[in-house]
Symmetry: C2
Subunit: 205 residues, 2 copies
Amino acid sequence: MRKPAPTDRPIHPLLAERWSPYAFTGEDVDEADLLALFEAARWAASSYNAQPWRFILARRREPGAFERALSCLVPFNQSWARHAPVLALGLVHGGSAAGGSPIPVAAHDLGLAAASLTVEATHRGLAVHQMSGIAADRIRGAYALPEDVLPVTALAIGYAAAPEATPEEWRERQVRPRERRRLAELVFEERWGEPAAFLAGEPED
Amino acid sequence: MRKPAPTDRPIHPLLAERWSPYAFTGEDVDEADLLALFEAARWAASSYNAQPWRFILARRREPGAFERALSCLVPFNQSWARHAPVLALGLVHGGSAAGGSPIPVAAHDLGLAAASLTVEATHRGLAVHQMSGIAADRIRGAYALPEDVLPVTALAIGYAAAPEATPEEWRERQVRPRERRRLAELVFEERWGEPAAFLAGEPED
């Protein structure tokens, strides 16, 4: 299934085609694809090249490990993500050594890596649904995290299910239109809250 | 200038070609390109679709506004970023309203948006150098930020200068090889710190 963004102007298809499904087909993800996804994450930019991103992978075909990772999501996310073939927890290594990043910067850089992973996934016909709804304390216990590691996100990865193959419970979310704020709410120039000059002529809504 | 990542396996060229230059040509960025870059950022994923990302734009052809934004970087970043045709400050709206995100999640989602912007930039032959080295308090004062807005990054955007057109001071940084940690240090599965099973057979270094 595809659900391209209704952009106001053309952007690269790998960005417009990215979306976050709530239902996946039963198909597993090949290891060659998984390797490429994390290779893409690996080459993201980061502050001082600290590469603070870390991932804990769980594949549905390994039921014990998968249940453990799944149990680290909030209940709502467990309910749909249990059908994804691959889960990954996204964490940051705050780093007490020189070059360690404060948490907001490390979390930002995890976002850069996760977005790279998602572009590669889109290129391979896969979809990624990222979540902030995790049980961080449970992750800390389940994987005996070092103190300077902070769980931030989870990612469900697989092939998006078509609407007719999506369980009734998730169908509305799977097909609902995609919406965003206008650029005039996001990009300022001289003053906070006032649209940047290059946005003059943009759609008012 | 190009400086593709020496990846262990192929990833999409828009990811491999992304890099962070220290020197830019004198060429300005077209408004059509700028619009597409921020349109790409606009369609990124975010927690609860809160879209916490905000940007303050400054173009070198508007010297007053540009100097103001430039003065919000740490001195080292000012020294090279002053030659970029476009600067953007990256901020997050923490949001006190329902759906507001905690700071690490909002910063993560700014990373998702900045990475989308960067993919679109790469597609258009532009390069983006992101920085965490900002003077957050100065930004807060210079733009009278609301209390629930946090500055996180800055982005320099332009066309990467060739080595022979790069000032001596930046040449080593412009051409030095790109390096990353191995995947085995980044992706775990059963236990923290132990490489995920699908990495067996990966290069040891």
